[in-house]
């Protein structure tokens, strides 16, 4: 957990919203290479908006730099190609497509070789998905769909994975399993991850750094340790 890692994603002065409604009013975050960063924040604070702004899904101003390249003006497909994959809030599964097709869909930006090998790799990590590879994704349980959504995002071979409230609607035990997987992806594969969570206790356990978002800007940030010791954050998000 050295804080001296090279920055992977740098967001400065990010402003974004919907039409006339400004949601983000100058947001700064930095995700370092190889770390798990967590963004905490109440409902409606702008967490999803931040994720969508990074992925190029909504208009935004400010600077977003990824591996030294500016991506504020790039379209979503270019951003995926640069190495950022997002698991959207609510999972965004292609419900009418089979499990295997969902994974191939995730590899849309890639060409030919390696896709089959990656399929096998993720079927190895998520054996339940292999069992259901020919079934429509809409028939999977919530936990399975979340695993599928993560595997699908990983099929694009991202450097940075964005996960928007992965625990939403899942049983605690499934959520636990999910965070174990995310932790393993980080430690074993060196994948950098930015997770949006409301379940702060759980997220802090695997986080290196933490950002606290309140109504459109970051009000506190630091290492997981620092944030856990911050009294204001403790009362607001950790409940003790």
């Amino acid at each position: 957990m050295t804080p001296e890692r090279a920055p992977l994603l740098e967001v400065r002065d990010l402003v974004a919203g919907y039409g006339a409604v400004q949601v983000l009013t100058g947001l700064d975050i930095t995700v370092a290479e190889g770390e798990v960063a967590v963004m905490l924040g109440a409902n409606g604070a702008g967490k999803t908006t931040t994720m969508r702004a990074i992925s190029g899904m909504i208009n935004r101003k400010g600077t977003i730099t990824f591996r030294g390249e500016a991506l504020t003006r790039r379209a979503p497909d270019e951003i995926v190609r640069m190495g950022i994959a997002q698991v959207p809030q609510g999972r965004g599964t292609f419900t009418d497509l089979t499990v295997e097709e969902n994974l191939r869909a995730g590899a849309y930006v890639r060409k030919g070789s390696g896709i089959e090998a990656d399929l096998e790799e993720w079927f190895g990590v998520f054996p339940r998905l292999r069992e259901r590879r020919s079934q429509k994704a809409g028939g999977l349980s919530g936990g399975e769909q979340q695993m599928l959504a993560i595997a699908r995002a990983l099929m694009s071979r991202p450097k940075l994975l964005l996960c928007d409230e992965p625990s939403l609607g899942l049983a605690p035990i499934i959520t636990q399993e999910l965070f174990d997987v995310l932790k393993r992806l980080n430690t074993e594969q060196g994948l950098s991850i930015l997770i949006v969570e409301q379940n702060a206790n759980l997220a802090l356990r695997i986080a290196h750094s933490v950002f606290v978002l309140e109504t459109g800007s970051i009000v506190a940030s630091g290492t997981a340790q620092e944030i856990s010791n911050n009294d204001a954050v403790r009362t607001a998000y950790l409940g003790y």
Binding site: V80, G92, F94, T95, D96, L97, E101, R104, A105
Partner: protein, 306 residues
């Protein structure tokens, strides 16, 4: 019973055409949720185009292919220049645009092609001499042309199936149809996919238009009205977002139409029951199906808003 089979075979030919126009509607609807009210008139315009090329001495099949190619390009351009900007405003704006296009293509056909109002002679790709038919048991005949039309629809359906299920472009189209946001996040250039949907739809419509004109041996400004009505009914019956539903819907409505127009004539020897009654019966059937199964026969359950 000989009559029944005869009427079914006749109905399948017209039904094939409904299927093609319905397929065009479905290809667009899946991607965008838009109903292209101009589908029939775009096909009509392209059919006049095929007539024009043919009139300049090109073989009919080449004329039809060229017209379909032109429609492919034109369909893409329409999406890019009219539909896309309108869709940014509101879904209602798109409806207005497609209704405007309906009018525009009909008027343009009338302006550009002399004699379009009364009708221009249109050839057929299939043998259609009076003796060109198979004799089936019970005195039933199956005309080569009717077989040809049906086979054309089957081939196009199979090609579409292969496109959707076996190619990367097809996968992208299904991704956009199923969840446009997620498709974007996966790196699909969704705008290009929508443009392709319109292009493909216009090309399919052209084949449909040329087949109707072939069967009628004539193309006029009114050729596509009834066809479009039944085709949109067929697409609704099939579920709006299901290609196979469009084909099944189109063929069944063709058969229903044939039975409803022919049997009363046989029984009562009158001709007062015509195409209008067929359309009315078709819509009653659709109403009943949608009451029982709001998403249509083959539609995904997401399509319940119509």
């Amino acid at each position: 019973m000989g009559h029944l089979l005869q009427y079914i075979l006749n109905g399948l030919a017209r039904g094939s055409i409904y299927s093609l126009i319905a397929l065009g509607l479905v290809v667009i609807y899946r991607g965008t949720g838009h109903l292209n009210f101009a589908q029939g008139e775009m096909a009509l315009f392209a059919t006049f185009g095929a007539w024009w090329i043919n009139d300049h001495g090109f073989p009919l099949w080449i004329s039809i292919l060229l017209a379909a190619l032109g429609a492919f390009v034109g369909g893409g351009l329409i999406e890019y220049s009219l539909i896309r900007p309108a869709a940014k405003k509101s879904p209602f704006a798109v409806v207005v645009i497609t209704i405007g296009l309906f009018q525009a293509f009909n008027s343009l056909s009338g302006l550009l092609f002399k004699g379009a109002a009364t009708g221009l002679p249109f050839g057929t790709l299939f043998p259609d001499a009076p003796s060109d038919f198979f004799r089936l048991p019970g005195g039933v005949i199956w005309r080569y042309e009717n077989i040809g039309v049906l086979v054309t629809v089957v081939i196009i359906t199979v090609l579409l199936f292969v496109l959707f299920q076996k190619t990367k472009i097809g996968l992208a189209m299904r991704m956009v149809a199923n969840n446009a946001d997620s498709a974007k996040l996966a790196g699909v250039p969704t705008n290009k996919v929508l443009m392709l949907s319109w292009a493909l739809s216009a090309a399919i419509g052209t084949i449909g238009g040329c087949l109707v004109a072939g069967i009628n041996a004539n193309v006029s400004l009114g050729t596509m009205f009834g066809v479009f009505l039944l085709a949109s009914a067929a697409a609704t019956l099939g579920g709006l977002d299901s290609p196979i539903g469009a084909v099944v819907g189109g063929l069944s409505l063709g058969v229903v139409e044939s039975l409803v127009t022919n049997y009363p004539n046989d029984w009562w020897g009158s001709t007062y029951i015509g195409a209008d009654t067929a359309i009315a019966v078709a819509f009653v059937i659709i109403l009943v199906v949608l009451l029982v199964k709001p998403s249509g026969l083959f539609g995904s359950t997401r399509v319940e808003r119509v």
